[in-house]
């Protein structure tokens, strides 16, 4: 008789034990897949929250006091082509969404009523596409040439249909079409006006200059700021880097914690299930001692006996691994919706771990049945078959 048929017949005959072993694989597999998927979702969530918060890394001339960006109009500058140099660098991958900015306090802007206000001007260079990294959706301001976006507080001083008019350093009045009137609650931008960089450089007579680069730090193993600082300063020693986002940190800490939690819970669950399986296989071998003795008496080798036990473990490991993968994904999607608001709809089966699942779990379960299988090969046929 075909040994495979023998394995399936035995599994069906002792279906309760087989079902419990299958359940242990399903638990181990689904918990692993669910935690991995949720951890991945947490990583995506962190990334999206960071995007939602805006750019979180500032790159600016060494020695600049950051508070000066909002209080003085003569912070140190550097050439705007630094952005392009960074974007062209093959080794610069710690930050994304490089946006060159000229940010200057403008203390005497006059509205259409003739009142003077202190506002902040922001000139945005087109976001740089990093040559050696995959393209990403643009972030930050997308201000078109000849237009401005005005902050909520500034907008209150400009009538609808009016243009934004500002006096340049050359004494000329420059007018810009207002493309967007921004909602309030955007911090310093509430009292600011966003320009296309070249427009603002012309108004201020600062052609080719910027005073900071805003960027988004990657989610790096060794920390965003440390890595970004190292990479920037290896290219431009006159620049420094600082991080502005505490919420992103909090979220990333949560992600790291989740990864650590996963790194503990996954092996714990798998090892517990393997131990249970090992005991069940040991019990199974004891129950089958006479069958195994008979196989020996009929001239079957120890390899056949090993095969019968290990193949059973392989089948249950494979079936449980596959079922666990889908159950784990279902768990991740069901609970992920409650936990991750940004990425909830994007929690999908990670097919890369499906391959691991169908290899890892059969191998692990075969390993767990290895000792019982060896015990089976050592069964004394003469003794077990003579028992009354």
């Amino acid at each position: 008789m075909n040994p495979l048929k023998l394995v399936f017949k035995e599994m069906w005959y002792r279906r309760l034990t087989s079902a419990v072993i299958l359940l242990t694989v399903i638990v181990a597999s689904s918990v692993s897949v669910a935690i991995y998927s949720l951890s991945k979702a947490s990583e995506d969530e962190t990334r999206k929250i960071m995007r939602e918060q805006g750019l979180n890394l500032y790159i600016f001339p060494k020695g600049t006091n950051l508070i000066d960006f909002y209080s003085v109009n003569n912070t140190g500058t550097f050439p705007d082509n630094y952005v392009d140099v960074l974007a062209e660098s093959e080794t610069f991958d710690a930050v994304r969404h490089l946006t060159g900015i000229l940010q200057i306090k403008y203390p005497d802007w006059k509205d259409s009523n003739g009142s003077t206000h202190q506002i902040v001007l922001f000139g945005y260079k087109d976001e740089a596409q990093q040559k050696y990294l995959p393209a990403q959706e643009l972030m930050g301001f997308d201000v078109k040439k000849g237009t401005v976006h005005v902050g909520a507080l500034v907008a209150r001083n400009i009538k609808p249909e009016e243009q934004f008019i500002i006096k340049g350093v050359d004494g000329k009045q420059y007018s810009f079409k207002i493309d967007k009137r921004l909602e309030e609650g955007r911090g310093m931008m509430d009292q600011g006006v966003a320009f296309y960089l070249a427009d603002l450089q012309q108004v201020l007579g600062m052609e080719g200059k910027i005073n900071k680069i805003e960027a988004l730090g990657c989610v790096c193993k060794d920390g965003r700021i440390k890595n970004a600082r190292k990479q920037v300063q290896s290219i431009f020693a006159d620049l420094e880097v600082t991080e502005m986002s505490s919420i992103a940190d909090a979220r990333e800490n949560q992600r790291v914690m989740m990864n650590k939690y996963g790194a503990f819970i996954i092996p714990f669950v798998i090892l517990s299930c393997l131990l249970i399986t090992s005991l069940l296989f040991y019990q199974n071998v004891n129950i089958r001692s006479r069958e195994i003795g008979l196989l020996k008496a009929m001239g079957h080798s120890s390899y056949t006996i090993l095969f019968l036990i290990l193949f059973k473990a392989f089948i249950l490991g494979l079936a449980g691994g596959i079922l666990g993968f889908f159950i784990g994904n279902w768990i991740a999607q069901y609970f992920g919706k409650e936990i991750f608001s940004f990425t909830a709809m994007n929690i999908k089966p990670i097919w890369a771990i499906f391959t691991y699942t169908i290899v890892l779990f059969p191998v692990l379960w075969m390993t767990s049945s290895w000792v019982p299988a060896l015990i089976a090969t050592k069964i004394d046929a003469a003794k077990t078959l003579s028992k009354e």
Binding site: K9, E10, A297, M298, G299, S301, A382, L385, S386
Partner: protein
């Protein structure tokens, strides 16, 4: 007896079981010979070493000393794979407890003892001879003890082994089923099969031509029924 026609020669076999400091002598310097076609009855009281003798002949346990020659070759002087082959090709086992696979049907249990298509083709013939027709697809749990033992008998002889080793095959059977089984074993013997049977059943002496009596591991009596030769 001419040594050259002997199928099995048991020479000074001894076997002692040890459990801690205790020793139990199962067999001590037992020697005898079996020719092809013999019907050997082994008897003796409980603990005399009957089952140990059967297991030694069947290649299931190693003797402490002595040799067992099958067709002139010491079976224990070979690799374990060859001992497996010896059991597969030359030995058929029957036990008091039947030892049928509980998850296989009658047909599947018998097929389990087949090693060629020809043997599989013969199953129907044996099922008919052993009055198991109609029970082919039943599981052991649905069979009477007599039917179980007849199934075990077919499984033991379906591969046409040289030697049938039966350990108390009628021990669990009623007198009617015992007679049926013994007549089936005799039929196998009459076609040239060699039988070594351990039995307390007095009926068995009717079929045997060689009676061995064991006591405390020693061969105390060996009777050869001349009419069989």
């Amino acid at each position: 007896m001419n040594k050259s026609i002997m199928m099995l020669e048991i020479n000074n076999i001894s076997k002692t079981y040890r459990k801690g400091s205790e020793e139990f002598i199962a067999l001590s310097n037992v020697s005898f010979q079996i020719k092809k076609g013999d019907f050997v009855l082994v008897n003796g009281p409980s603990g005399a070493g009957k089952s140990t003798l059967l297991n030694l002949i069947g290649g299931l346990i190693h003797p402490d000393s002595g040799e067992i020659l099958f067709n002139g070759k010491n079976i224990y002087n070979q690799k374990s794979s060859l001992i497996n082959e010896y059991r597969k090709k030359h030995i058929g086992f029957m036990f008091q407890q039947f030892h049928l696979m509980p998850y296989l049907t009658v047909l599947e249990n018998i097929r389990f003892g087949c090693y060629s298509k020809k043997q599989i083709d013969n199953i129907g013939l044996y099922i008919g001879k052993c009055s198991l027709t109609g029970l082919e697809n039943k599981y052991p749990s649905d069979l009477s003890v007599g039917e179980k033992q007849r199934t075990a008998f077919i499984r033991a002889i379906i591969s046409n082994p040289d030697l049938l080793l039966a350990d108390e095959p009628t021990g669990n059977l009623d007198p009617v089923n015992s007679i049926v089984l013994m007549s089936l074993i005799e039929a196998y013997n009459s076609t040239g099969g060699t039988v070594v049977i351990v039995s307390h059943n007095p009926e068995a002496t009717r079929y045997s031509n060689l009676n061995l009596s064991l006591e405390r591991g020693r061969l105390i009596d060996l009777q050869i029924e001349q009419s069989k030769f």
